[in-house]
Every structure is written in structure tokens, then in C-alpha cells.
């Protein structure tokens, strides 16, 4: 049986190799990350690379998952195409367990090969990672040349590669075992995945559970609930997918007109099971990509908003983590600053961590330096005994609140920012709250008609002599924050783009396999006068439509989860305001279409080369 399996694999050559290709990428990411990690351990820069390592391992996991989806799909197609061959084995005496094991063995061999290829490709991933780390986009530092290849990395690569392929092959192997010997005698058409009612029912239940958990997570602000919800949704889409994929393919493909476009559209819709399988593999990557874009757009908006609301031209604070405590409120320094004719307002902010973050600033001066987004009431009303409360605490204007040891009346409700988490009150009241107040910063605004650049030397001079104190410009601060956010976004986009890329492999693989299946049909089309060019266009249309169906799934799921995640994070210390980056998401659609076109390039060439005589010669 082993010999038969090996010979069968060899005979199918590139088709067998295609199956493994999808698994290689995942293995490569995991192996590359482990190599970087081990190398970092050796040179002693472990900790700073921790974050990168974690992110990359998650990305590798996603890539492996997508790869497993595709391996499952290609193994299923393989089994369907080999129905006759497998039935013949049954005819000549192989029992169903042997047939099943032969399929699993094949998966194992493919897994081992994928692991080897993945290890080799892992060096490339590691090299790219090192370049990214040392040139800036990723944090950390990784000197030296070459990478450590530890036993652990090798074992992990084989475990990931073999597990992904063998587990994905379980269901196809079971199907192979059920092939009746008589199938060898029939001119069996490759079986279409038949979808049963229970599949829809189960899929719908999972979808309802998964998506239904989102509002619950938002209402209860339980972020971790999103993870099981994602798992349920994923499986739900996979189960329900075949029922919508056909119609969706028809709808998405509607713009493709003419006989060639029409045939491509119908081909994309003809086997909904397969289209759905490819689409859900692609969905994973695109959903993540969408999620990342929604999250970053939602985080960027409050940040930009803060930039607009921030009128403090200079922020004076203490460098270092432990903030040298008393310095920004050093009375002498504040007096010197207030005396500067170049400045129109100087506000000191002191906070205490007691029953949330409680800050004090002079509310009458406050609006000059920071335009806090007041929802109800007004900051001017926050006099002695009054307090401004962040909206998320849900306390109405006029109500009495107890903050630490102080009993105060709510006079204003404001939208939370990164700097003012919970309460804002008069400096005199802060002492009554209790705890140990610490100064945060002194905010200064230039006088009308003074350019911030001109005022800067005077401000710097006023704080000189206080070694740890730094003067920061408004534009510099906001640009730095934005730049940090955007470089993080670029990294996440790249990683999720990688997962999408693996999904596109799936489009190419299934298209190539379906062309093998449809050789006779393609030959007939050529015989009755379809030009090679037209055959190629037809396959490309099919690739674009399948990719777009995946994009539709991915965008829908990604936006739903993006919404939930931003709502959950809305009142975190990194506030988010749900923003749909319409432009970016809309740009994904043509990008995916082009990617579908590219992934159909090789299958289209294969189809164009199909021998016309195949159609007319009956075996």
C-alpha cells in the first residue's frame, strides 16, 4: 500500500505538490519566528523582541489555519478526482481501511515535504524579520548574521506541517474509505459536495451564536468573548457558505458579460461547496485585514480629534517612567512660566489614582489649553465641590458622587481621552480625595500673535535647572503618536496580508485542480471554436469571482468584529471611536480582484493548453 501511495503521489507530480504549497507558508512563518527568537536568546535581546515574537507566532498560526483549510480542500478534490482509481484498489482487494490509510499516508508525506520546504523558507522569513527589526518598523534590535536552527524549531516545523496536513486529510480520507468498488466500473463524475439540511441548521446556529455574542460583548465590555465568537462564526460561515456561495458568485459576477464572462461566472457558481471552501480560506485573511483596518482607523480618529482639541503649544513633563514626581508642578518653575509674556495660559495637571484616575486642573484656565469634549454640563461649572466625570462612568449631571474621601456634585460629563480617564476637579478638592497626588504635566499656550517656535527658547529657559523636565511641542507629540500608530498599522497590515496571500494560493490551487477535472469540457469548447485567449479569460473571470466571494465574506465578518472590538475598546485607555475606513476597505475590492486575476494566471495558462483532441477521443 505504501508503494502504491508513493507511486500515485509521484504520478500526480505537480498536483500533489500544490496540496502542500499552502501548508509551506504557515510553517515558514512559524519556523522563521522561532529562528529569530532563538537567535535573540543567544545575543541576549530576548525581551525587546517578545512582542514581535508573539505577534509573528499568531500570524504563523493564522497562516497555518488558512493553509489547513486549503489542504483539506485540495485533498477532497484529489479524492473526488481519483474515485475510479481508489475504487479500482478496492476491486483488487484493498479494504476500506487500507484506502483510508493510503490517503492519510499521502497527507503525511506531503506534510513532511511541506515542513522541509517551510524550514528552508523560514530562513527567508527570518531574514525579512531581521531587516524589519533593525531598520525600524518592528521594535527591538537583532545584531549578527545567520540564525540559530535549534532542534525545537525543526520539531515545531514538522509538528505544524504534519499535523495541519494530516488533520485536514481526515475527512477526505474517510470519504475515500467509503468509495464502493463498483465505482471503478461506472463513469463516475467527480461527486459534488452535497450539503445536507443539518449542515445549514448547524451552521446557522453557530453563526447566530457567533455574531449574537458581539452585541453581548459590547454591552458587557467583555473583550475576551470575541475569541470564541470568532471561532463560532468561522465554522458557521464554512458550513453555511455552500448555500450562499453559488448565488453570491452569480451576483458578484453579474458585471461579467458576454459568453466568456458568462461561462466563467457559471463555473464559479457550479460547485458552491468548493467555491465556499476557497472563499472561507480567503475570508480568514481578509476578515483579519478588515479588522486591523477598522481598529486602526477607529483608534486614529480619537487621536486626530485630540490633536484638534489640544491647544497647548507646549507640554512640560518629566522624562522617564517614575516621572520624578514633583517636578512639573514645581511652584518656582510654574511661576516662571506664568511670568513669560510669550505665554497666555499655563495649566498644571495633578492626578491621583484613587477610585479611578482623578485629575485636578484649574477649570477656568483649562479650556485655553485643552478643548475637552463636554457632552453635558460645562467645565466652567466645575467649581469647588464640583466634578467633571468621564461619560463611561454613567453619572448624570447634578448627581452626587463619592470620589475617594470627597463628596462632589457632577457638573460636567466629558468624553474620555487618553489623558483624562475618570474625574476632573479643582486642585483644592484633589487633596480631599486622598492618596498621593502626582503631577502629570504643565500645559502652556502661547499668547496671541506669538509663533510657538519663537516662544520655545523662553520656555526652555524657564525650565532649565530641572534636569529631568522636557519641553514637548504639540505638533511633535501628535506626529509621534500618529507615526507610532501608523507604523504599527503597517506591520499588522503586512501580517494579515500574508494570511490573505495564503488564501489566494487556495484560489490558484483549486482552479488548477478543477481544470484537470474539466479537461474534456475545455477541449470541447476549443473544438467548437473557442479561442485559447477566450479560454484563458474564462478561467480568469472564475478566479476573480471566487476571490471576490471570499472578499465579501471577509469584509462582512471583519466589519462585524471590527465594530464589536472598537466598541469594547471605546472606553479603554486607548479610546476608539468606531470608524469604517470606507476608502481603504473599498480599495480592498479591486485589490482582491487583481489578486484573483493573478492567482488565476497559471490555471488559465493550463486551461489554454488543454488538448482539443481530449474532447473527441473517448477513452
Amino acid at each position: 500500500m505504501i508503494r502504491v501511495t508513493l507511486l500515485g503521489l509521484l504520478a500526480r507530480g505537480w498536483r500533489a505538490a500544490l496540496t502542500g504549497l499552502a501548508a509551506v507558508v504557515g510553517v515558514a512563518v512559524v519556523a522563521g519566528t522561532l529562528m529569530v527568537g532563538d537567535t535573540a536568546d543567544r545575543v541576549g535581546s530576548t525581551e525587546e523582541l517578545d512582542l514581535v515574537r508573539q505577534i509573528m507566532l499568531v500570524a504563523g498560526g493564522v497562516a497555518v489555519l488558512v493553509g489547513a483549510f486549503i489542504v483539506n480542500l485540495t485533498m477532497s478534490v484529489n479524492v473526488a478526482q481519483r474515485t475510479r482509481e481508489l475504487a479500482l484498489l478496492r476491486c483488487i482487494g484493498a479494504d476500506n481501511r487500507q484506502v483510508r490509510r493510503s490517503v492519510l499516508l499521502e497527507a503525511l508525506i506531503i506534510g513532511v515535504l511541506a515542513a522541509l520546504a517551510g524550514l528552508a523558507a523560514g530562513y527567508g522569513v527570518a531574514a525579512v524579520l531581521r531587516a524589519l527589526i533593525n531598520s525600524g518598523p518592528l521594535p527591538g534590535h537583532l545584531p549578527g548574521h545567520g540564525f540559530m536552527l535549534s532542534v525545537r524549531t525543526v520539531l515545531a516545523a514538522f509538528a505544524v506541517g504534519c499535523l495541519a496536513t494530516v488533520l485536514s486529510a481526515l475527512a477526505p480520507a474517510r470519504r475515500a474509505g467509503r468509495i464502493a468498488p463498483v465505482a471503478a466500473l461506472r463513469d463516475a463524475a467527480p461527486s459534488r459536495g452535497r450539503s445536507r439540511a443539518w449542515r445549514v441548521a448547524a451552521g446557522l446556529l453557530l453563526l447566530i451564536g457567533g455574531l449574537g455574542a458581539l452585541p453581548v460583548a459590547v454591552a458587557t465590555a467583555q473583550g475576551p468573548l470575541l475569541f470564541p465568537a470568532a471561532a463560532l462564526t468561522l465554522v458557521g460561515v464554512r458550513l453555511v457558505g455552500p448555500f450562499v456561495a453559488g448565488r453570491l458568485a452569480g451576483a458578484v459576477g453579474a458585471p461579467f458579460r458576454g459568453i466568456v464572462g458568462g461561462l466563467g461566472r457559471r463555473n464559479a457558481a457550479r460547485s458552491p461547496e468548493r467555491t465556499a471552501a476557497v472563499a472561507s480560506a480567503l475570508m480568514l485573511g481578509l476578515a483579519l485585514l478588515t479588522l486591523v483596518n477598522v481598529l486602526f482607523a477607529s483608534a486614529e480618529r480619537p487621536m486626530l480629534d485630540n490633536g484638534r482639541r489640544d491647544h497647548a503649544d507646549f507640554q512640560v513633563w518629566t522624562a522617564g517612567d517614575d516621572s520624578g514626581r514633583a517636578t512639573p508642578s514645581d511652584p518656582a518653575m510654574v511661576r516662571r512660566l506664568r511670568a513669560l509674556p510669550q505665554l497666555s495660559a499655563v495649566v498644571t495637571i495633578d492626578c491621583v489614582d484613587n477610585a479611578g484616575q482623578v485629575c485636578a486642573a484649574d477649570p477656568s484656565q483649562f479650556p485655553y489649553v485643552l478643548d475637552l469634549d463636554v457632552v453635558r454640563g460645562s467645565l466652567a461649572a466645575v467649581t469647588a465641590g464640583g466634578v467633571g466625570v468621564s461619560e463611561h462612568r454613567g453619572q448624570p449631571v447634578g448627581s452626587r458622587v463619592r470620589v475617594g474621601g470627597a463628596e462632589l456634585t457632577v457638573r460636567a460629563v466629558y468624553r474620555r481621552t487618553g489623558s483624562f480617564d475618570d474625574y476632573l476637579m479643582q486642585p483644592a478638592d484633589l487633596a480631599r480625595v486622598g492618596g498621593e497626588p502626582y503631577p502629570v504635566a504643565a500645559l502652556a499656550r502661547v499668547a496671541p500673535g506669538v509663533a510657538p517656535g519663537d516662544a520655545r527658547p523662553a520656555v526652555v529657559a524657564a525650565v532649565s535647572g530641572l534636569p529631568a523636565v522636557e519641553v514637548h511641542d504639540r505638533s511633535e507629540l501628535h506626529e509621534r503618536d500618529l507615526a507610532q500608530l501608523r507604523s504599527a498599522r503597517a506591520v499588522y497590515r503586512t501580517l494579515t496580508g500574508l494570511a490573505t496571500l495564503v488564501g489566494l494560493f487556495g484560489v490558484a490551487t483549486t482552479l488548477a485542480l478543477s481544470i484537470v477535472e474539466r479537461r474534456r469540457e475545455l477541449g470541447m469548447l476549443r473544438a467548437v471554436g473557442m479561442q485559447r485567449r477566450q479560454v484563458r479569460s474564462m478561467i480568469r473571470v472564475e478566479g476573480v469571482i471566487v476571490a471576490l466571494v471570499g472578499a465579501a465574506f471577509g469584509l462582512a465578518v471583519g466589519v462585524a468584529f471590527g465594530w464589536a472590538a472598537t466598541r469594547v475598546l471605546a472606553n479603554s485607555s486607548m479610546p476608539t471611536a468606531f470608524t469604517l475606513p470606507v476608502g481603504t476597505l473599498a480599495a480592498c475590492v479591486p485589490l482582491v480582484a487583481v489578486a484573483g486575476l493573478l492567482s488565476a494566471a497559471v490555471p488559465a495558462r493550463l486551461a489554454g493548453r488543454v488538448d482539443v483532441l481530449r474532447a473527441v477521443t473517448t477513452e
Binding site: L525, V528, R532
Partner: protein, 260 residues
Amino acid sequence: MCRSRARADDAFMIETVAVRAVGISKRYSGVTALDDVSVAIGTGRFTAILGPSGSGKSTLLHCLAGLDTVDAGAVFLGEQNLRSLDERRLTRLRRDRIGFVFQAFNLLPTLTAAENLVLPLRLAGRTPERAPEKECIDRVIDAVGMADRLRHRPSELSGGQQQRLAVARALVTRPAVVFADEPTGNLDSAAGADVLALLRRCVDELGQTVVMVTHDAVAAGYADRALFFADGRVVDDLWQPTVEQVLDRVRAPRVPKAAA
């Protein structure tokens, strides 16, 4: 199907030639499939090509139809030398001037009967909904008796209906020649007889030229002329063959017999 071709006068064996092979040879990896074959197929005739499997009869059909290339010699469709055409022109010629009927029907499962029928027209960029195509299509549908089945998918049709649909598809472009490769090979005898009668009507009523490869003596009985093939050569040429004659000929393949 839509224009009436002048039938060849029976007084002359061949008045005009639809397709002609001149000394063609073809070898496949050491096996000679065609060995210096010259045949002329008359316009408006129903010609059957018979022979045991491996005799080269299918290869001849493929070469005449421009599906396969020849190693030596030349094939002419009308005045057109197929050897002088490149891949694209050859495809266009197949699309516009040749019709095919395959043993395995070869209809597209994703298209309805009506859509399968007009596929060659659509590939050529013609609009089947407008005259003169519309009129022609209606007559073809009428002739094959598929009017009530047009909305069905091939999988919902019987074998005989599928093959009649395939014949209709071959006729719809008004080709110079219809080539049929074992058109009754996958059919029971009643459905097979239906298809053969349909091909016969195309020839008699519409002057269509039909070339059919078969190994079935009964099928050959519908033809005007039977060419017998063995070892890559034409070994016999029978005019107005009867089933008995063909059976005799098949039973004694090695004895050359004068043309009737």
C-alpha cells in the same frame, strides 16, 4: 440547415468536394495511424467511415476537421488548405465552418439546452436573438424536436435528447461539414436510430454534408457512402451501402471488394 444546398446529381459520383485529404500521413509515437490517405468527401453527402478500433478512422476524422495536424500531405476544406492556417485561424474555421457531434455528447453542464445550442454563435460574437440567426435557430430546434426542452439542463435530458441537442448545436452555424464521431456510441438502439434519422434528414432536406465515424453496420446503413479503414489506409469504398453489405465487409475485412 437554413440554406438549401444543391444536391449532388446522382449521375455524377461527386459533383463538388466539401473536404479533401491529399496523401496525408500521421504517426503517433511509432504507430502509423494514417498512411498516405487520399479521400474526397462530396458536398451534400452522408459519408460513413468504418473500421476496427485502431484502424485510424478517428484520426482521419480529426485531421479532416482540423482538430489534429498531419505529418505529410494536405487537407482542404473547400479551397482552404488547413495546413496553411495558424492556431487562431484554425479555431475560427472550426467555429464558423465545421460542426461537431461527439460520442460523449459534450454539452456544457452549466448551460441550459438553449444556451448550449447557441454556444458556437455566441463564441463567434453573433447575437442569436436577432434575424437571421433567430430564424435559423428556430428551424434547427424544430428539426431536432427540442422545442419543449430548451430550458432544461443537459443532466435533465435523456441520452438521445442530449445527442439531438448536440446535432442541433453542430448545425446552428450552418457549417460546411458536420463531423460526427461515433454519435450513437453512447445510445441505445432506439435513440441511436433517432439520431441517425436526424442526420439523414439534414442531408436529404437541407443538403448538409455529414461525415460520421462508426463501427456500427446499422449506422453505416444510413449513409450514402461507406469508407472502410484498416491499418491506416482506406481498404474499401462502398456507395449506397446496405446493412448486409457492410456486415459482409466487416466480417471479411481482408478481402478487397470492388466498390458498388
